[in-house]
């Protein structure tokens, strides 16, 4: 076994952040939310671009989807998660997360099932158009439906 060293580190963050100066937590959160609002339009545009590319390359009408690398579908849905904070309470992040899970399991099992992908893609479109206006209960039903598709195909999935 290698030599183990244990020691304390006093970071500059610890020294400087929790003093008497600065702003209150409430002010910091308000400023951050206001700053995020400024970049909401490009974030929403990116969600739509990703969805369009998913349709074009992996959707039910995509002519060559069997030859497209599934890793790209993972990247596209991951990109939707990245910027989905611009569409709060839409469920987009959770649907895209479910799609990432499906792609991940599909790549490792090498069992491609396009029906499961189609269900996820349709759910993403539904939530993009109507997610924010759906009741919490109905949104949750859509997401749990997606989880069931994954479980049905691959069994229970490890949770973080």
């Amino acid at each position: 076994m290698s030599q183990v060293r244990k020691f304390k580190v006093h970071s500059r963050l610890s020294r400087l952040a929790l003093g008497r100066g600065g702003v209150t937590v409430v002010e910091a959160l308000q400023q951050a939310s206001a700053a995020l609002e400024e970049i909401r339009p490009p974030c929403i545009a990116m969600v739509d671009e990703c969805l369009a590319e998913i349709d074009q390359r992996f959707g039910p009408m995509a002519p060559n989807r069997a030859n497209e690398p599934l890793a790209d579908l993972y990247s596209l849905s991951s990109c939707i998660i990245d910027v989905s904070g611009a569409l709060p309470n839409s469920g987009m992040d959770q649907a895209a997360n479910a799609l990432c899970e499906l792609v991940d399991l599909t790549i490792s099992s090498e069992r491609v099932g396009w029906v499961a992908f189609d269900v996820h893609i349709r759910a993403l479109h539904l939530l993009r158009s109507h997610g924010a206006s759906l009741s919490e209960e109905r949104r949750r039903a859509v997401i749990s439906g997606l989880r069931e598709v994954v479980v049905k195909r691959f069994g229970p999935v490890e949770a973080a």
Partner: protein, 202 residues
């Protein structure tokens, strides 16, 4: 070891002089990180779109906080974290690191922990969660552990005691022998007899 205290609304936080390094291959996502951090009052922000660019920055500058995406093409945020902890310049080696990721299966979270990150934050990034993690990191009193296999904050922050049948390696771990039963467990009747005195007829 005490756990992180709750972040109170009236609590003050001063990040003005803290140097933040943000890393994400998705430019839009990098902008989100940057806007949030700037909103917290941070003045010094360096943005990088790859781990290689971040490494070059860390070799030339002293930073106070690294916020990195986990999954980037080529070198990932996990690789970057591992590099900082094992090969990074001394001035940056023990900096707080938070890994952000969109997809958080348990295996990814464990990987982030095992490469030496302080915390993992799930995307989409929200100001509240990020500020809370910065706050926790600032109060984090975990010791650092450095050995060939691992460098980073002590991963054993839950006091579950040493594994059964071992002595434990912490100086303050209780002896394995302590607490071993000296005699068979008491039956419920024995316990009741001790704890629930009953009236008796004399």
């Amino acid at each position: 070891m005490s756990g992180p205290k709750a972040m109170l609304a009236s609590q003050k936080i001063d990040l003005e002089r803290i140097h933040f390094l943000l890393v994400d291959d998705n430019v839009q996502s990098l902008d989100i990180m940057s806007q949030v951090v700037a909103g917290f009052g941070v003045r010094s922000i360096v943005k990088c779109t790859s781990a290689a660019e971040a490494r070059a920055t860390l070799l030339k500058n002293t930073m106070d906080f690294l916020l990195t995406d986990a999954q980037m093409p080529g070198e990932s945020g996990y690789d970057l974290t591992h590099w900082v902890r094992h090969e990074g310049p001394e001035t940056n080696r023990y900096m707080p690191i938070v890994v952000v990721t969109g997809h958080t299966p348990r295996s990814h979270v464990m990987r982030a922990r095992d490469c030496g990150a302080h915390f993992v934050v799930a995307k989409p990034l929200t100001p509240k969660v990020l500020l809370e993690r910065i706050f926790w990191t600032a109060q984090d009193d975990r010791k650092y552990i450095e050995c060939d296999e691992y460098c980073g904050p002590d991963r054993r922050f839950q006091r579950l005691g040493p594994p059964v049948g071992t002595e434990g390696r912490r100086s303050d771990d209780l002896s394995g022998a302590l607490g071993d039963p000296a005699e068979p467990n008491m039956s419920q009747d024995d316990i009741n007899a001790l704890m629930k005195p009953a009236k008796v007829a004399l």
